[in-house]
Symmetry: C2
Subunit: 258 residues, 2 copies
């Protein structure tokens, strides 16, 4: 997924890269292990298969929706830009599917448990015009980035490298940001409508995620701090609230009250 590439975010990314480098020296538990070691624990292995399956289907579904939303583009070059984002998602999908096959999991089986939630999300949030499509691409991208970052820290070193590689493909979302800002400047009333839309996107994303968390014990347990610590619903809540908070800040930066 992509992140906006304006200066502030670039600085923040540099900070978190420095933090990550520091964290690498002090990693413990699964985060200090490579995949062959970590995967000896069947619960962890199952959680990673779940995670890669969810991410892979997320990318494939994002590909489909961005390609669909490209139809709403007002110009050919806008259409090409959305098609480019779609194609980037497809390549992420390929990497994740490749990794699933590499660790001996059936990619289609691994994705299956997440099809209903992701299709549900996209069905509930079909944009009705080009600007809604752009806001969705940006919000979706950003939430996915945040989620990838949250989860990367809890993974074995090999899986972490893959997740960070898929994340490390920046610059597309800035296209959406520019276009949305320009539209709001040209007609401030657009901001009100898009702010409502962004809230609906976030609400739907949270509700589908909670459905997944409730269904997939191994995955949820890993997300909240590793297989050893057991399932902690409060920690899942805190992760969701960190992601929501970041979303709110981004919306404000975009000129939308979240």
């Amino acid at each position: 997924m992509e992140t906006p590439d304006n200066a502030k975010d670039a600085a923040a990314a540099a900070d978190s890269a420095a933090e990550a480098a520091e964290a690498a020296e002090t990693r413990t538990g699964i985060a200090a292990q490579d995949w062959p070691t970590a995967a000896a624990e069947p619960t962890y292995r199952a959680a990673v298969v779940d995670l890669l399956g969810a991410l892979a289907y997320g990318e494939l579904a994002a590909f489909e929706r961005l390609a669909e939303d490209a139809k709403l583009a007002p110009t050919l070059s806008d259409k090409a830009e959305l098609a480019k984002m779609a194609s980037a998602e497809f390549h992420h999908f390929e990497q994740l599917r490749g990794r699933l096959a590499e660790i001996g999991a059936d990619p289609a089986e691994a994705m299956e448990p997440f099809v209903a939630a992701l299709d549900g999300f996209h069905r509930q949030t079909a944009p009705s015009d080009w600007l809604e499509g752009l806001v969705k691409a940006y919000v979706g991208d950003s939430i996915a980035s945040d989620f990838y970052r949250e989860v990367a820290a809890r993974l074995d070193s090999d899986t972490r490298s893959l997740v960070l590689a898929v994340l490390d493909d920046t610059g597309h979302a800035s296209f959406a940001v520019e276009k949305v800002r320009a539209a709001i400047e040209a007609d401030p009333r657009v901001g009100g409508r898009l702010a409502l839309w962004a809230r609906r996107l976030m609400g739907e994303a949270l509700s589908q995620s909670q459905r997944v968390v409730a269904d997939r014990d191994a995955l949820s347990t890993m997300l909240v701090g590793g297989v050893a610590d057991g399932f902690d619903l409060a920690e899942v809540g805190r992760m969701f609230s960190r992601i929501t908070e970041a979303h709110t800040k981004r919306m404000a930066a975009l000129g939308l009250a979240a």
Copy 2:
């Protein structure tokens, strides 16, 4: 675009590569020139901008339709296969757009004259199920390949390299061929329906192409043998009939009466 990669076609491709190598030594006129030399002739330049614009929008439209048709896939891996074809089309689009910019043409402007015909084609031929989508992907791919080959011989060396590079990306269509053959074997009545469908695709492709040929003089003139020779409708007809004939043979190989 992709071509099927079964043995017969591979042998045919090797033959035509040998022919092409031989032809290269005896090339005359524009085909013996590079772009800077050939582009000094404004009519030729206009024709190439038209051609690249038509190919570029063709790829972008193919991307959109394949991505859309991926929704009809019965399984996740089928869906991924169609998404892969779509993504390959997008990368062809990027190459063609890049070339337009390189020669100082506005890509959106160059594509614009072909939007109506290509959108019209896709609107008239929206597949109603997965097999129709596969036949369309295969037929569309093959016709596009044939057309690229026809036209490559008439181009300056630089433009020819690009067109052949975009063509040289084989192997996807064999996926469609396998699936369609298996479906016809399982239920021979499917063959009758798909044969009708393939005829409709070809008819619609020809009718939209003729519309383009009638509208775009410089392009049509180049397609039929270079700017010096003037517009020859009979030669356009012969080109269409070579493409139709190749289509008929492919449909027969697929188990469909064309």
